[in-house]
């Protein structure tokens, strides 16, 4: 069937803020979907609250709404834009849930249809009960299980399933609130947590399949019942570890054709029974002993795995699914890579490995054991000629210091005997830990039999054997290779080829050779030069979807040492175009994520528009920048020195851009330049100057600017003396880190000693080998100051500010975690002028060519301190672009390509008559036991934006978008520290005036009674008589909680209060500034609601809005009509 002509306007939902389990893969999917539907000339309306995404760039849809993703807002947008169809399958679970909510609330006119997945399809797939029934009717097995709505029901079901039993809450994302219970006590706790986490208060208690093989099929089906499996993915980690946390491989490696085809048959049956139209993901578990296979789940939408599958095979699932949603069938679509039919199943002649990236170190107190609930914050994918090469490429792409499978030290201290160590490793192998494959490596090296390793871990023997082969190759490196190098002889090309084909990086080889003791001086430089001397360079193979069967023209490449010859598919860059290479940011992690993908993609587009051939190097399968359709020439490679240099040798770019991918490419800048690679934009020396504390201090001093007094220390004594000189509190941090890793505000000498000791003993996993730069910076902490971020573009002679952002929370909270506003709300004009002038000075002095971000702190007496300058794209760049309508990335790209700012036409700071507020989204619920406090170490995973004419409403929109819904009436619990009580007085009065019912702990209540004549109900503190405050929170409706503490360390009471609020999903405010903003917002909302009520009286019911807010697309905000005259 061809394209539907009865539809004109289609609404697409994005996936909202990045959270664990739902990351930028949905930006990739929805961006692809937008492009696919634009090609078909539909009018596209996009709703997504996340400004960091590529899809919310106004060019990708006709009307882009960055508004809270609630059913009410969605309905208002749909009516306003006369939407005829909603496509909910591209924006992850968020979009699917929003669509269902919209459908169930019957907000839409009856003629608005859902395409892609209908409510019926979603209902069957998402309701555990109906899915189960459907599977049973098809004759497919599902795990023994039943639904429970109470803890008692759950324990009864566990009688049937036995232990261990799995608890899965209904309708939650990435398994939030689920877990494995090994006994009745654990079950009771998990059941309770799961019931709370589920929006419908329902859990599934299920038989455990721990240790079974876990397989995923990514499939597409059209309404003519044509169906294809795009990719089969095998989880290397068996069942028991969330697939998002597992190392996975494609194609499936350990199933026979009989097993595979029978699983494929089941998948087709499931898709047919559910009525799928588009892409879906089906998970199976297979008992390795008996071959019994059960269906685990099916997602009737594109998923994290489908993004991975698209990158792994070259088959654009989201694109095809979008076309099917508007009426096409598979047979009518073409495979863009080969020009053949899109109705086929890709054949792979390589291996693809995905490895998860974790951030446990940021959540002290939470345990790093993996389970059913996803914990990974990002991932890398690697393609290789064989599994070992792909695996080791993926691991080094993670940037966690694991330059090869074997490079983590074995568990246990240095004094263990081999036997003791083996016992320790064996104990670890039973547990699903992030470093499991590394542990298998050490276990085999210590003599554990392969069979036992397979038995302890549940890994297929084939995977264990692959690890053995890596060990054998490493033996060759520390044996014959090291011998030759020690003797000054040249290892043969054959030997190099063999070692490299096992995925061993030059850095890993250097460590092996050096640690063998034979050639201790061996380093990466030496290994690389010997290898190159032998003429051994990687071969770049094309990803062609068909294992070479058909000719393919798509410039999507990966490196392999495994297949040295194939001249017919050499990647030949066009000779007539200048080439610019953009280095991406590698795996997402807290502090470096989707924002940098946006920067890379926009810059790639800008360079292409200028006539350049663009080359993208990145290893993150979730991104738009690794969509071969979105960039010029794609090299799917780890962003490490060796891998990037290999691509540079191949492509010989005229320029390489390092300022767009976050800290990852920046860390490579100096080394790349040393190898003669032309770096475009700001000189790497300037980057170094801004990052090196000593040079930076000198620079600030030279310009006559103020900076917090500081010092640098390598040991505790120096640190203490610095602190004594500048006075507590102090801010401490290691140099060269992003996201405020290990950054801390310290109030006394004792804590300082502890911090330094920890820093020295653990070392830090830095992105690059920084040798001498492992210093601790000790700064005076400016308590109570307001922080300001400035994003600007400079061309070496001129600096133009794109936006000044005022943080809502005071200094000391990482800029990535704090809420901020464009334009600034409280700063006087004189301060803003001072900030502008300082920004210009810094930009010129640093010789910035391209983007820069500067952070300032403004004290209560309006003194401006400059905190840091980053001559690179900042995390806020996409927010600034969306909030102001200023295309700063394109401007920066033009500057890097040699234009002046005058030539680009970007010469003055955009000023708008509306307010944009960015709020951070934090993953507390995933890291049980971690302390819920904001501080200088970044912990947020994502962000949202609220835009409105009025700051209060913009702030409130940002809060709602972040999942914190403040009802206009109800109970507010207040418990604030003494320092904040003064500020609380007027705010509490306002809350009371608005009709909120106040509750407070004793101290706060007494203060309010005395100072504000309020009479809050007194809640008992913890450890006093019961019921105490936590008991109250757990058993009474509370609309929001305000809890503040001195400094950043939450005291024990606060830890428990906050944890309870998070568990209950109660909005939590931890700063007075936050409360102030919330009260402003609630007051504005009250006014708005009153006004709406008056307005609505004159309107017929059918046209009434569902949400109190006005909704406006970015395209309208960006019109010149919203410019303000200064």
């Amino acid at each position: 069937m061809p394209r539907r002509t009865d539809l004109e306007t289609i609404m697409i939902f994005g996936s909202g803020p990045i959270i664990i389990g739902q990351a930028c893969e949905f930006d990739y999917s929805a961006t692809q979907g937008c492009k696919a539907l634009k090609e078909e000339n539909y009018r596209l309306i996009l709703l997504n609250s996340n400004p960091a995404t590529v899809m919310t760039d106004p060019e990708f849809s006709d009307r882009t709404y960055v508004e809270p993703m609630t059913a009410e807002v969605a309905a208002d947008v749909a009516v306003k834009e006369n939407v005829q169809a909603i496509l909910p399958t591209l924006g992850g679970q968020t979009a699917l849930n929003l669509a269902m909510d919209l459908f169930l609330k019957k907000y839409l006119p009856p003629d608005v249809v859902m395409i892609g997945s209908t409510p019926e399809v979603i209902e069957i797939a998402e309701s555990r009960q109906r899915f189960r029934e459907t599977m049973t009717n098809l004759g497919l097995e599902v795990p023994v299980s039943d639904l429970a709505n109470t803890v008692d029901e759950a324990t009864a079901i566990a009688q049937k399933t036995g232990f261990p039993a799995i608890v899965r809450p209904s309708y939650t994302l990435g398994g939030t609130g689920g877990g494995v219970a090994y006994n009745l006590d654990e079950l009771t706790e998990l059941a309770w947590r799961g019931l709370t986490a589920s929006p419908v208060h329902q859990i599934l208690v299920e038989e455990s399949l721990i240790g079974w093989k876990e397989m995923e099929l990514e499939m597409i089906r059209d309404l003519d019942d044509n169906a294809i499996i795009v990719c089969g993915i095998e989880n290397v980690d068996p069942m028991g570890v969330h697939t998002g946390d597992s190392v996975t491989v494609a194609p499936i490696q350990t199933l026979t054709d009989v097993e595979y085809q029978s699983m494929r048959d089941d998948a087709l049956k499931v898709a047919r029974a559910v009525g799928l139209n588009g892409g879906c993901n089906i998970q199976f578990a297979i008992n390795p002993e008996t071959g019994r296979r059960v269906v685990i789940e099916m997602n009737p939408r594109v998923s994290r795995s489908s993004a991975l599958a698209s990158k792994a095979t070259g088959f654009p699932i989201a694109r095809v699914a979008s076309k099917l949603a508007v009426g096409y069938t598979l047979g009518e679509l073409k495979n863009g890579i080969t020009g053949k039919s899109a109705c086929f199943e890709p054949a792979l002649d390589y291996c693809v490995v995905k490895a998860p990236r974790f951030n446990f170190e940021k959540f002290a107190g939470s345990s790093p054991v993996l389970g059913l609930e996803m914990k990974a914050v990002g991932e890398t994918m690697a393609l290789g000629g064989n599994f070992r090469e792909a695996l080791q490429k993926a691991l080094r792409g993670l940037e966690i210091g694991q330059v090869g499978l074997g490079s983590f030290p074995p568990p246990g201290g240095p004094n263990l005997s081999d036997e003791e160590r083996l016992e320790l490793v064996k104990e670890k192998l039973v547990q699903p830990l992030p470093e499991r494959l590394s542990d298998v490596y050490h276990a085999l090296k210590l003599g554990l039999a392969a069979e036992e390793a397979a038995h302890l871990t549940g890994l297929d023997p084939w995977f264990i054997d692959q690890i053995r082969l890596i060990i054998e190759a490493e033996k060759m490196a520390s044996g014959p290779l090291a011998d030759l190098i020690a003797k000054g002889e040249k290892p043969s090309a054959e030997m190099w080829r063999h070692l490299k084909a096992q995925g061993l990086s030059d850095l890993r080889l250097a460590v092996l050779v050096s640690e063998s003791g034979k050639a201790p001086e061996a380093n990466q430089e030496l290994i690389s030069s010997l290898r190159l001397e032998a003429g051994v360079i990687p071969y770049f193979r094309q990803v062609d979807t068909c294992a070479g069967e058909f000719e393919a023209g798509t410039p999507y490449y990966y490196s392999s040492f495994d297949s040295p010859v194939s001249p017919s598919e050499e990647s030949r860059p066009p000779a007539d175009k200048k080439r610019v290479m953009i280095l991406g940011g590698g795996p997402n992690r807290i502090g470096q994520g989707i924002e940098f993908d946006y920067c890379c993609v926009k810059a790639s587009q800008a360079f292409a528009a200028m006539g350049f051939e663009t080359i993208m190097v990145n290893s993150n399968p979730e991104t738009v920048s690794t969509d071969y359709d979105a960039v010029g020439r794609l090299y799917f490679e780890p962003v490490t020195l060796e891998d990037v240099l290999a691509v540079c040798r191949k492509e010989k770019p005229d320029g390489v851009v390092v300022q767009l991918g976050g800290q990852t490419p920046l860390n490579l800048a100096m080394a790349l330049r040393a190898h003669g690679v032309p770096i475009w934009g700001t000189d790497p020396a300037s980057i170094f100057r801004a990052e090196n504390r000593r040079d930076w201090s000198a620079l600030v001093e030279k310009l006559g600017l103020r900076q917090p007094p500081s010092g640098m220390a390598r040991d505790a004594e120096t640190a203490k003396s610095i602190a004594a000189r500048i006075g507590y509190p102090v801010m401490v941090r290691p140099s060269f880190v992003l996201g405020g890793r290990a950054m801390c505000v310290i109030y006394n000498e004792h804590d300082l000693s502890e911090y330094v000791a920890q820093f020295i003993s653990q070392g830090l996993e830095l992105g690059a080998d920084l040798g001498d730069e492992r210093l601790i910076l000790v700064d005076k902490f400016l308590e109570g100051a307001v922080e300001v971020d400035v994003d600007a573009v400079a061309d070496g002679n001129q600096v133009v500010i794109a936006a000044i952002m005022e943080h809502i929370e005071q200094a000391g909270i990482h800029s990535g975690d704090s809420c901020c506003s464009i334009p600034p709300i409280t700063l006087p004009l004189s301060v803003l002028e001072g900030i502008r002038s300082q920004t210009r000075k810094l930009g010129l002095e640093l010789g910035v060519k391209g983007l820069m971000n500067i952070q300032f702190a403004v004290t209560k007496d309006n003194e401006i301190y400059v905190l840091e300058a980053n001559p690179r794209a900042s995390r806020t760049a996409p927010f600034v672009a969306k909030a102001t309508g200023c295309p700063i990335i394109e401007v920066a790209a033009k500057v890097m390509a040699g234009q002046t700012l005058q030539e680009t036409g970007f010469v003055s700071e955009p000023r708008r008559d509306y307010v944009a507020v960015k709020e951070a989204v934090l993953p507390w619920s995933r890291f049980k036991g971690a302390s819920v406090t904001l501080g200088p170490e970044m912990r947020s995973t994502g962000e949202v934006m609220g835009v409105d004419k009025n700051f209060g409403i913009a702030f409130l929109k940002s809060q709602i978008a972040a999942g914190m819904n403040y009802p206009q009436l109800g109970n507010v619990v207040l418990t604030v520290c003494d320092a904040d009580k003064g500020a609380l007085r007027p705010l509490a009065s306002r809350l009371a005036e608005m009709g909120y019912f106040l509750l407070a702990t004793k101290g706060t209540a007494e203060f309010l009674e005395k100072e504000a004549s309020l009479k809050p109900v007194v809640l008992n503190k913890l450890r006093s008589i019961k019921p105490n405050i936590v008991d109250y929170l757990s058993s009474n409706p509370v609309q929001f909680v305000v809890n503040t503490t001195i400094g950043q360390k939450a005291d024990e009471d606060s830890v428990l209060i906050r944890a309870e609020a998070i568990k209950r999903g109660i909005p939590l405010i931890t700063t007075m500034a936050g409360l102030n903003a919330a009260v402003t917002g609630l007051l504005a909302l009250k006014e708005l609601t009153a006004k709406n009520e008056v307005d609505e009286k004159s309107q017929p019911e059918s046209t009434r809005k569902h949400s109190p807010f006005d909704v406006t697309p970015l395209q309208d905000y960006h019109l010149p009509a919203h410019d303000t005259k200064i």
């Binding site: 026979t256 085809q261 047979g331 002649d349 068909c546 294992a547 194939s566």
Partner: protein
Amino acid sequence: MIPPSIKLTKAALTLDDGAVFEGFSVGEIAEAEGEVVFITAMSGYQEVLTDPSYHGQIVVFTTAHVGNYGTHPEVDQAPVAHAAGAVFHELWLPPVKHWLNDKDLPNYMAGRQLAGLTGVDTRALTLHLRDKGARNGYIGPLDQGLEKARAKARAVAPMIGRDLAKEVSCPEPYSLPPLVLDWSPKETIPVAVIDFGVKKSILDDLRRENLELTVFPADATRQDIESLKPKGIFLTNGPGDPAACPYAAELAREYLGRLPLFGICLGHQIMALAAGAETYKLPFGHHGLNHPVQDSRTGRIWLTSQNHGFCVSPHKLPSNVRASHWNINDDTVEGLEWTDKPAFCVQFHPEASPGPHDACGLFKRFRKLLEDFYA
């Protein structure tokens, strides 16, 4: 990659155009010769190596790893390995332990006198075959010298004009009882199978339709067959050039219209020839599990298992034969049906093994054809 702990002999695949692809010899036999074809399947190596249609061919597996799950006797398509040789990028060499496991693939190959070559840059080889067309080749030790190897590759008999069906067909007729499952039709129908190199899975699928089979050698005569009074004829898959077995087309022609006929792969080509159509050789054939085939009547697309080097030309089809199925990758004919006779045939493999089961309903269609004919 060959782990240093395993000592293997260096060997190479030499093509008749002189190209050489080095690797290491596996299996007990050091030499092999035949037409070199590549298959893009990512599973099912054992089924492929035992499929009689690969008789006389050296099969190149494009997938990165082969042998990962060992071998299992029940999936053998014939008692012997029919492929002349096998070329791998990376064959798993260590001992295998798997829940279904019988033997590992290297041992299995050794036991079946199958020559193998591993550690080959199969992608380069595949691109070579894709660009230059299927070629003859020779696997042998490296130390004999290049010229000698090239001469051997050039000496391999061309596939065009070769009647290989006779070589792999059963020597004597034999019978197979139906395999009645709970869903099988009730009535048993006797069917004659003309064996050009049949896969076991095809026989099993026919038997599950409650068909009682008598399998005849490729050159069986009408008298041989009549003696058993079959109610239908099935023409099997097989190796070689269909045009080289005129006797088979002759036999098929005699039965067209008299009894219901169904043919697969070589059987399909023979039925086409019998109807007066022509066959030709494809540049590098279709060998894989992902070939999309569209039913020209319903528009439905099946993913099919394919293995053929020859193909039926759509240009000289008689008016009573229509192309019922098309390959939507290259628009080649994938199936025929007679408008006036109870006969149909397909180029692809509905029995899969290995491959997707999308087309398995065709065996039911044959059963129905028989029932309708005698209704």
